[in-house]
């Protein structure tokens, strides 16, 4: 062991400040690394650079107004955030959502999952030096964003899922667009795999890197692909089904090696499973039918009714001036986001504004395991490990 004489004494290790402006931290994450040569001895994440107080802001909005804030937490999964928030409010209200709206929701969040995994795969590969994968992934992501734009008028912050259903009926021509995507995508996933799975550099950078045992992963509250790569088949869509997921036939891919390569394989397999779900939802969505629950006073009435019925006009006025008031109580709902278990806790005190809204963000909780993944590894592997847990800093800091 070589030691260096410094002004303060003999130093064996050095402290390196990584971030907050570092391209591979996918946002603004700062990590203090204590290094012994190239080996990480200790890692201390420092967060909060993107904290915007979304939970506090929600307390000053009516239940419907807060939906737009949820889009902006995990900006790779806005529809999933909408969904978890709406499910929690619906649970508080005891509201039943029509089946057609549930299937549309499932199709949209599964498209979102593929979209998010594409961004993950592209950026993770670019971090590890595989430039071209990024371009391929963003090519397909564009197609998904076009579908979102078609449905909601927005590419990213769609706010498409609303309390009681979805915002709009599927647009004309949606079947062709989704069908085209379903036809194209399977071969594209094969294409990514042909670029990476048996690539020796890729294997060298990811195999055996960032190991965590299943016991440690559960103890550290990890969820999502990272937990499933450790061999625990915990997926909210199967364990606590929501939005009619119990009617869909799909598998939960798991692996046991629990390294960066295993997590890559899990996410690729999940893209294929999502395609299966989208295909089934595509068949289940009927051309006609309600997209919103029947709940006067909570769901805004249709335009035609407002012009012909006095009650509808009154409800419209009441909903947009004061909102609606769920019964006092608390609800906690979890869904499977691309990153893991996304939860929403809402407490109502019987007023039109929530008493407390809290999001259990999977990025935040999975990031907690980062020191466990990288301590004892090489500094180059830190990049691979940050990428592999797939954090979105907007969601970490909220």
């Amino acid at each position: 062991m070589t030691t260096v004489e410094t002004a303060t004494g003999t130093a064996k290790t050095m402290v390196l400040n990584m971030g907050p402006q570092h391209p591979s931290t996918h946002g603004v994450l700062r990590i203090l690394l204590e290094l012994d040569g190239e080996t990480v001895v200790k890692a201390v994440p420092d967060l909060g650079y993107l904290h915007t107080g979304i939970e506090k802001s929600c307390e000053d909005k009516t239940y419907s107004q807060a939906i737009t804030l949820t889009d902006r937490m995990d900006y790779l999964n806005p529809l999933g955030n909408n969904l978890v928030y709406c499910l929690a409010v619906e649970k508080l209200l005891g509201l039943e959502v029509p089946k057609r709206a549930q299937y549309i929701r499932v199709m949209m969040v599964e498209l979102q999952r593929i979209c998010s995994h594409l961004v993950w795969l592209g950026t993770h590969a670019i971090d590890l030096g595989a430039m071209s994968v990024f371009l391929y992934c963003f090519r397909e992501r564009e197609e998904i964003l076009k579908i979102f734009e078609m449905f909601s008028g927005q590419r990213m912050m769609t706010s498409y899922i609303r309390i009681g259903g979805v915002a709009l009926d599927p647009p004309a021509g949606w079947r062709q667009a989704v069908e085209r995507f379903l036809k194209m995508m399977p071969s594209r996933v094969d294409e990514y795999e042909s670029l990476l799975t048996e690539n020796r550099i890729w294997m060298g950078r990811t195999k055996g890197v960032g190991y965590i045992s299943a016991e440690d992963a559960v103890a550290l509250s990890m969820t999502g692909p990272t937990l499933r790569a450790a061999g625990v088949a915990y997926d909210n869509r199967k364990v606590f089904p929501y939005s009619s997921y119990q009617e869909f036939d799909f598998d939960v891919p798991t692996r046991t090696d629990s390294d960066c390569f295993a997590r890559y394989m899990i996410r690729v397999a999940e893209m294929r499973e999502s395609l299966k779900i989208i295909r089934q939802a595509f068949g289940k969505i009927t051309n006609e039918g309600p997209i919103k629950a029947e709940a006067p006073g909570i769901i805004p009435p249709q335009r035609e009714k407002m012009k012909t019925e006095m009650e509808a006009l009154i409800y419209h006025f009441k909903i947009f001036t004061e909102g609606f008031s769920p019964a006092p109580g608390e609800a906690f709902v979890t869904v499977e986001s691309p990153r893991g278990e996304l939860g929403c806790f809402i407490a109502s005190d019987g007023s039109p504004k929530p008493l407390r809204v809290h999001f259990r963000s999977p990025s935040y909780i999975n990031l907690q395991a980062l020191p466990k993944l990288i301590e004892g590894q090489l500094i180059a592997d830190v990049i691979a490990c940050i990428g592999t847990i797939d954090i979105v800093l907007g969601e970490v800091d909220r």
């Binding site: 904290h51 915990y234 109580g329 008493l355 407390r356 909220r398």
Partner: protein, 174 residues
């Protein structure tokens, strides 16, 4: 759905009661969710029991969060959301804390994942967790004053802005 959840509520409540008669202060059933209110002194031991007992096996602490009912007392309610992966069940443990003494035992020794969850609650609500290995602010800067998610902390304009509601009440009294 509701039936199975109330069965689970009975199972959890009975197992906790048979372990310690004082462990269950209240059982709340709302919209198919089970909440068990635990006295503050017994939280750590009850959590340990929930994790270890063969009939409970709550091995995943999925979330911990706080709720401020200001101006009512006890104002703080800590909610721990537990999941048993083998049993496929959820339960919520709740502890009520007064505003003068918001201190509770840390659960980091039971679930290491509680570390950042408790730091977040400390940061935003000012609840102190005794026995926590690293109780520092996490989202806000270290020199931040106040705890923003408390209900008496305004959403905006917390510095040098007169309380207009207060002024109005004063001027309207004869």
């Amino acid at each position: 759905m509701t039936e199975t959840s109330s069965q689970n509520a009975n199972v959890v409540a009975e197992l906790l009661r048979s372990w310690n008669a004082k462990a269950v202060a209240e059982v709340i059933e709302f919209r198919g969710e089970t909440t068990i209110v635990v006295p503050r002194e017994l939280l750590r031991a009850a959590a340990e029991h929930c994790r270890q007992h063969a009939g409970l096996q709550y091995n995943l602490l999925t979330d911990a969060t706080c709720l401020d009912r200001y101006p009512h007392e006890p104002r703080f309610e800590l909610n721990y959301h537990l999941v048993s992966i083998p049993r496929r069940e959820k339960v919520r443990l709740k502890v009520k804390l007064s505003g003068n003494d918001p201190v509770v035992d840390s659960l980091v020794a039971v679930w290491p994942g509680a570390n950042w969850l408790e730091r977040e609650i400390f940061d935003l609500f000012g609840i102190r967790f005794s026995g926590h290995p690293d109780l520092r602010r996490i989202l806000l800067p270290d020199d931040w004053e106040g705890y923003p998610l408390r209900r008496d902390y305004p959403v905006e304009g917390y510095r040098d802005v007169p309380n207009t509601g207060e002024l109005f009440r004063k001027s309207s009294t004869p």
